[in-house]
């Protein structure tokens, strides 16, 4: 059910509310231009807000993200649509874009919700929590996590029994089951695409036994290490045991032609080293081994960070994993080729983390008329001039921020967002557009 379409006018629309999209929206808004920031999820922050810490400084990820989210939330020139889906983006003529957006019903009046979580306490339904990768449950009436922005409840209507407990418990009467999806037609002079990246699905490599409970992805480990973690401690998902022999498998879904991704994801080596260091703190008696093809520590302070991990006792093995099998105790047998000796070896670990690569998001291509959104050979956004103007897309007036154009770490994503917003502002000023 949808309400009638409403028409809105903005100077710029930013698609994607991760760290790059938020940065771009703030920059454009700071130049007295009206911005609409559209995020498909219930909260801003993208993948970054889910991280435990960031490399190579080991700063708290949430502590860096939340001030930016707070800044964008109270920016007078930025309007935020969360839980909203961009249906399509059409360039009408040289001067403006028409963007169809659906704001999905939260069944909660955003302006009245205080984030008290009384609805959550009252809700009797428990379903797997998608923000914790299903490792723990959440209620059908829920706030994604404590540092969600906006910190507003939402009703998962597909899991709701319509018992009314949340509505009765709400002290501000903001639960409203009569809400409907709202359609908007947004007219904007420029668009910044900050749609981010997707993580590789390890099920595409059956020999890595991702179906085993004790084989997890690096993003799941991020959650296990984060302050808003699903468990009370770092424990195995199979039986709650504190692991003492952990393994990281680098290049899972990266630099691998067999899964169609020959590109290095640029972040996996460093986030794995970061997690290994954090694990040495969380599990002081544990052995952490990183199986790698090459360690690519190319950024500022990265090599020192790598050396620091070695100094802390992280074991680095230059080896290519052939197969992972699970034994009766739930432990994992890693069969690998020791690249230095050329010999095949087998080692037992009790938790394996697959350092999954970054893939291009499929969403942008579907938003534009067929053929307009060009992609590079890796399916990321085509950059018109990689060296001089890396933020320019194949469509005039559409700019690229963050990992829309390729894998990069957080500082680079913020730099890219800065460049994209600067290009968007220049485009707006040069064209002197009139709607």
């Amino acid at each position: 059910m949808h309400t009638a379409k409403e028409k809105l006018f903005y100077d710029a629309v930013v698609v994607g509310g991760g760290i790059a999209g938020v940065e771009a929206a703030i920059n454009i808004g700071n130049n007295n231009l009206k911005v609409l920031l559209i995020e498909k999820d219930l909260t801003l922050g993208g993948k970054m807000i889910l991280l435990s810490k960031v490399f190579p400084t080991l700063d708290c990820g949430a502590c860096i993200t939340t001030p930016k989210l707070s800044e964008v939330a109270r920016h007078p020139n930025v309007t935020i649509f969360t839980y909203s889906e961009v249906k399509n983006i059409n360039k009408q003529d040289k001067n403006y874009f028409k963007i169809n957006v659906t704001k999905k019903a939260r069944y909660v009046e955003e302006s009245n919700c205080t984030g008290c979580q009384l609805c959550e306490d009252a809700c009797p339904v428990v379903v797997p929590d998608q923000y914790q990768y299903g490792m723990v449950g959440r209620k059908a009436a829920y706030i994604p996590f404590n540092i969600a922005s906006p910190r507003i409840a939402s009703i998962d209507i597909d899991s709701c029994t319509l018992c009314g407990a949340c509505e009765k418990a709400c002290p501000t009467s903001c639960i409203d089951f009569t809400q409907k999806d709202e359609d908007y037609e947004v007219v904007a002079k420029t668009v910044v695409m900050a749609t981010g990246f997707e993580l590789f699905n390890p099920n595409k490599i059956p020999r890595l036994s991702f179906e085993s409970k004790n084989v997890i992805t690096s993003m799941e480990m991020e959650r296990l290490l984060a302050p808003t973690r699903p468990y009370n401690h770092v424990i195995r998902p199979s039986d709650g045991k504190a692991p003492d022999r952990l393994a990281y498998v680098l290049c899972t879904g990266s630099r691998d032609l067999t899964v169609g991704n020959p590109m290095c994801s640029q972040i996996c080596c460093m986030y794995s080293i970061k997690q290994a260091q954090l694990l040495m703190g969380a599990l002081p008696m544990a052995d952490v081994t990183i199986y790698y093809i090459d360690i690519r520590s190319f950024g500022k302070g990265f090599e020192e960070f790598y050396e620091q991990a070695k100094g802390m006792g992280v074991n680095f093995v230059k080896g290519k994993i052939g197969k992972i099998t699970e034994n009766e105790e739930g432990n994992l047998i890693l069969r690998y080729e020791d690249i230095n000796t050329g010999k095949l070896k087998e080692v037992e670990h009790d938790l394996v983390v697959l350092s999954v690569g970054a893939l291009a998001h499929q969403e942008p291509a579907c938003l534009f008329p067929e053929g307009e959104w060009k992609k590079d050979i890796y399916n990321f956004a085509y950059q018109k001039d990689l060296f001089y103007t890396p933020s320019l897309s194949s469509i005039e007036g559409v700019f690229l921020a963050g990992t829309t154009s390729g894998p990069m770490d957080i500082p680079d994503a913020i730099l890219s967002a800065g460049a994209a917003s600067m290009e968007a502002i220049r485009y707006l000023k040069q064209a002197s557009l009139e709607l």
Partner: protein, 92 residues
């Protein structure tokens, strides 16, 4: 006005069918929650011990115990002598 607003779930019931899967899920959760609460009511247990007592798989037991921990019903009560498994008890 307020009373009317507080019953919007009834209006939604007229157009939205709650699936059998959702109803079954709620029943299953309540049953398991009761079993876990009874199991650790008098003694502190690890995940494998709770799983054995409930004849449930260990991953499923962990999921429910951790959910109850998140909802403030269960709390951690130390670790075993081998530093392997945490004990869980009811939060009182």
């Amino acid at each position: 006005m307020e009373d009317k607003k507080r019953e919007t779930f009834k209006i939604k019931r007229e157009t939205h069918q709650v699936s059998q899967e959702v109803k079954d899920g709620l029943k299953a959760y309540n049953k398991i929650k009761k079993q876990i609460v009874e199991a650790i009511g008098d003694e502190e247990l690890t995940i494998p011990q709770i799983a054995e007592k409930l004849s449930m798989s260990k991953p499923e037991t962990l999921y429910y115990v951790m959910s109850l921990l998140k909802f403030g019903i269960v709390q951690t009560a130390g670790i075993d002598d081998m530093d392997e498994y945490y004990f869980y008890k009811l939060k009182k």
